[in-house]
Every structure is written in structure tokens, then in C-alpha cells.
Symmetry: C2
Subunit: 323 residues, 2 copies
């Protein structure tokens, strides 16, 4: 049976040596060279737990990649390039070598995909697979959730509903047209955080949030923390979502607004900067979508749909939602 | 039933506002003002899992304090003052408000005890209580595990065996004299990492390690990573340990060497600096104990007891040891 040292060795030996200025993995702490003068330290931790975060069909490689992706998405939304990460891994006793190797491959893939270095971690015995990723980076400032003013455009880095559809396909066996099924399942198993667009448009955003708890909660959070109302002009439905929804008697609106697990950026852009933002997004290979406008909190409290109905403050909530 | 937002609120409302330069808890990431120019970022994560790390008699308050203490101890061993921490918490569904409040109190106590700020975290549903602490600080350099040369003193910040004795009392009902029992149980439930002495003597240490996996493994690790042998002159038995061991038919040597969970510093000091190190330790309210000397790896491979027997490379190893 593998012990702690075997597991650490199986993971770390896949990674090359850290460059000058870092302390090699294996000391009591990790050491990361400082950012530029005046840059603050940006930190994020996000815990993935198998029982709630790993759908059927997700390998350990996909799971460990996703744990890193969850943090990368937060950095993307704040316009901060991630530098390094650590992982605390909880594994059931008797975990196979193949699963540990799979987990290590996912971390390596994540490290290459987003240019982040693994600098350390911790291994513990747990009842369930647990991967807690901690990410560090440097920035002079970050785009806050609280920076939106009235009269700005509300934007997203992509469409919504596809990941939730993917989870319904994987968990509930929902039926889908082959092309949609492939895209939906892939977005659930191999989420693609919007790092390139996040870094490209950060300078144009007055506020932003990572949408992984769902579009509705993301909009409500910006609304509450910025003190503005949000009037949606349209919902950013994923391509094929409405067909998928009607085929399975789901509501496309519910899937797009309340599903969660979409690693998009939701934010606000002052009107005078929208062309610049769109151009920068396009140069990063991505389309920035305008989905509505902010108004004063006096004019509207919360978030309203095009037809005036209110968007519920609902989405993926741990201890409330069921996977 | 409490949901994720209730839990985050119960924890964060106990902490005051973060000072200028920090981003308030509740954004996608935490932001920590930089260290002094040229200082690197020091990071550590350590995951506490109830099933292996929480003995009978340990409250949730003690558990969350211990999770932070585990990281503080690593910072202490490296001579680095910790600045801030984040916690990823995994909680069973249906966790009571009282337990969440208890957990929050332990984090607050830790924050005050070691002067570290809580800057963020994550909450997930898990089968078991899991507290993953991630700590950050700043330093120009750290004391490494690999810096020992031959002909130096091997030192510890305290004695060994008491915590293991405490765990045997709590888990196995081992018998003990009241004074020893009180000290032993307290060291298991309320570990005291050696931050003051660690910061005071760091400049005198050529190598060091946090001893939480046990004295034997700590000595072996310094021996291997520094490429030296270690000849022990005496074992740093805790006061009353031998009496406790004989009363319960344990071996005091086994308890002191292979127990683990003692948050002491084990290190090496060049002979010319030992008086300075002892004086600095004393000024930090602590005695630095010389327990042996390093020799060349040619003369001795590994770690030897005063009578010449070898110290096994054994201690607390996840997936191998049983609590």
C-alpha cells in the first residue's frame, strides 16, 4: 500500500525542478520570488470534494485539473496572472497507484495549461478524495466585485447553461443531440477558465466576478456589493441549450441562470470603454457579450429579466444544493 | 439547516475589518500588502482531517486552532513571521450552528495568539470535518532543511514524548500521574508552536525542521537533506515521561522518538554560535537543548543513539500509521 512519502514522490517527480529563487519542494514551506515592487500578493483557495464536485465520468486526472481550474478562474475574473499553486490532497486509505498517477497528471496538465508552478502541498488520509488548491499571484490591484456604477454595461465572457446541461447528461442521463452533448460534457469535465480574456480586459472592467456559483448569484453579488440594480437585455444562452431543454422538459432559463459550474467572467464595463474591451477580448480569442445594463439601486433593487420578472438569488449553494 | 452563506457569515463576523491594503473578505480572491522590497513570499498548507487528526476530547475550537498551529509551527521552524492565513473548511451536511461557532472561535484564538490575519477561505460539504489552513508570510530567506554541515550541534526547542503520551491517555486510556496527565493532554489538545524561539534563533541555525512528524523522522530528514550523520548524546525526554512509560509498559524511547505531533523545532547550530543561540532562545522564554552533534556522512550514515544503535526512519506517516 502506498504511504504518504510514496504519494508525494509519485506527484512531485512528474514536475521539473523549480527555477532559481524558489525553494525546492520538500522543505517545511514553499518560497516564491516576490512580484514587482509595490505589487500585492493575491491568494485563493478552493476545495474540491469528490462527493459534491466530481460527476460520473470524471477521472482523477480531470478532477485535479479542475481543482486548479477553479482557482485559475478566480484569478482570471480579477485580472491577475497566477504564479504558483499548492495542493492539499486528502485520499482514502488504499488509494491505488494508478489513481495517484492520474491525479498527478491532472496537476501537471493544469500547470502547463495556465503556466502555474506547483510549489508544495500536503497529503492526508480522508474518507473521500479531497483536493484543495491554493493559488498565489501578484498584482498592483484587482478588479473588485464592488466597483460597478449605474449606467454601465453588464458583460460576460461566454454563454451559460452548457455545463449544467453536461452535468444533467452525466448524472441524470438527459438526452442530447451529439454535437451539443460533446460540448456540454466536455465543459463539465474539462472546464476552461477564461484566463486570456480576463487578463486582456481587466483594465476596462469596473467590477467582475467568477461565475462558478451560477449566473444569477454572480449578478446578484455584483448588484449587492456595488449597490446597483441590473436590468438584463437578454440571457446568454449556450448554443443548442433551448433545444436540449425542451427535449428534456427543462427550462433553458433555469439552466442558464441557476446552474453554476460555468467558469466564465461576469462583469461591468463603463459605456465609453466597451469598444476597447470588445477589441481586447477578441484579440484574446474570445467574444465579450453585453447582456444588460446597471441602473441605480433606487431605480431597481436586484436583478431583473428583460420582461421585468426578478432573477432569484439562487444557484449552487453548498449544503443546500444537491449535485 | 445552515447553508454555505450562513457558515461564512458565522465565521467572518467574529473577525474585525482588515486594515488598509487588504481586500475585505468576500471577493473572489484575497489581497495581502507586499513584504519589504526583495522579500519572497512564504507559503504553507496543512490539512487537518477529523478522522486522523482529532483525538477524543478535542473540541471544534481546539481543532481549528490546531489547524492554524500546524502552519505556524512550520513558519517558526523556518524563522519566518506569519502574516495571514486562509482556511478551506469541509463540513458534514447538517453541522450544527454551535460547532461552526466553536470552529470560528478557534480561528479567532489562533489569529490573536500568533498575530495572523484571516483573509479568506472556502466552505465545502464533506463527509468528515476537514480544515485546510494556508498561511502566507514574507522573508528574505528561510532556514532550510539542507543546511547542516558536519561538526555542528543538534538542538531542539523542547522535549519530546509528552504529546504522544497525551494521545495515549486520550485514545487508549493510559494512566498517568495528575500533573503529567494535565501537561500531556494539554500538549495534545492545545499545541504550542515555537514561534518566539523560532524567530529569535533563526539567524544562528544552519538547518531546521518542524518536528510534527516525530523526532526520529525530523533528524533523519536533516541528515538526508544536509548529507550529514547525526550522533545523539541524549534523548530530550519530557519531564515525567519515563515514569509514565513504565507505568503503562510503553518504551519512553519509542514515545520520544517515533510519536510525532510535537510542534518543536529541531535544527543544527555551528559550534561557534551556540552561546548566542542559547541566549537568544532564553530571551524568547525558551531553553534550546543540545541533544547531539552532526558528523560527516562518511563517518556515520543516518542517526545514531548514544549507545550506537540506529534510530529508525519512522514516525507519523499518513496511510501507514494508525491514530
Amino acid at each position: 500500500m502506498l504511504d504518504e512519502y510514496d504519494i508525494i514522490d509519485l506527484i512531485t517527480k512528474r514536475f521539473g525542478e523549480l527555477p532559481e529563487g524558489y525553494v525546492p519542494i520538500g522543505d517545511d514551506v514553499a518560497l516564491i520570488p516576490p512580484g514587482r515592487v509595490g505589487e500585492s500578493v493575491v491568494l485563493k483557495c478552493d476545495m474540491l470534494v469528490a462527493r459534491t464536485d466530481i460527476p460520473p465520468g470524471m477521472s482523477w486526472k480531470m478532477a485535479s485539473r479542475k481543482a486548479v481550474a477553479m482557482c485559475v478562474s478566480d484569478f482570471a475574473a480579477k485580472g491577475v496572472p497566477p504564479t504558483a499553486f499548492m495542493v492539499s490532497v486528502g485520499l482514502p486509505r488504499g488509494t491505488s497507484r494508478a489513481n495517484v498517477v492520474s491525479l498527478a497528471s491532472g496537476l501537471l496538465q493544469a500547470s502547463r495549461e495556465w503556466g502555474v508552478r506547483l510549489v508544495g502541498g500536503d497529503t492526508s488520509e480522508a474518507g473521500d478524495l479531497i483536493i484543495d488548491c491554493m493559488m498565489v499571484g501578484f498584482a498592483g490591484h484587482i478588479v473588485r466585485r464592488s466597483g460597478a456604477g449605474p449606467g454601465e454595461y453588464v458583460v460576460t465572457s461566454g454563454t451559460f447553461g452548457e455545463t449544467t446541461a453536461g452535468l444533467r447528461i452525466l448524472i441524470d442521463g438527459a438526452k442530447a443531440e451529439p454535437g451539443f452533448k460533446k460540448r456540454a460534457v466536455s465543459s463539465a469535465l474539462l472546464p476552461k477558465p477564461r484566463l486570456a480574456i480576463g487578463l486582456a480586459v481587466a483594465g476596462c472592467l469596473s467590477s467582475s466576478i467568477d461565475s462558478s456559483d451560477g449566473l444569477a448569484i454572480s449578478l446578484h453579488t455584483i448588484s449587492e456589493m456595488s449597490g446597483v440594480g441590473i436590468r438584463l437585455a437578454k440571457l446568454p444562452y449556450a448554443k443548442g441549450l433551448r433545444e436540449f431543454a425542451s427535449r428534456n422538459s427543462y427550462s433553458a432559463e433555469e439552466l442558464a441562470l441557476y446552474g453554476g459550474e460555468e467558469y466564465e467572467i461576469v462583469g461591468t464595463v463603463p459605456k465609453g470603454r466597451i469598444q476597447e474591451a470588445k477589441t481586447k477580448a477578441r484579440s484574446a480569442g474570445c467574444e465579450l457579450r453585453v447582456i444588460g445594463e446597471t441602473v441605480s439601486a433606487k431605480e431597481l433593487k436586484g436583478v431583473a429579466l428583460p420582461d421585468g420578472r426578478k432573477v432569484r438569488r439562487d444557484g449552487w449553494v453548498h449544503f443546500r444544493s444537491k449535485p
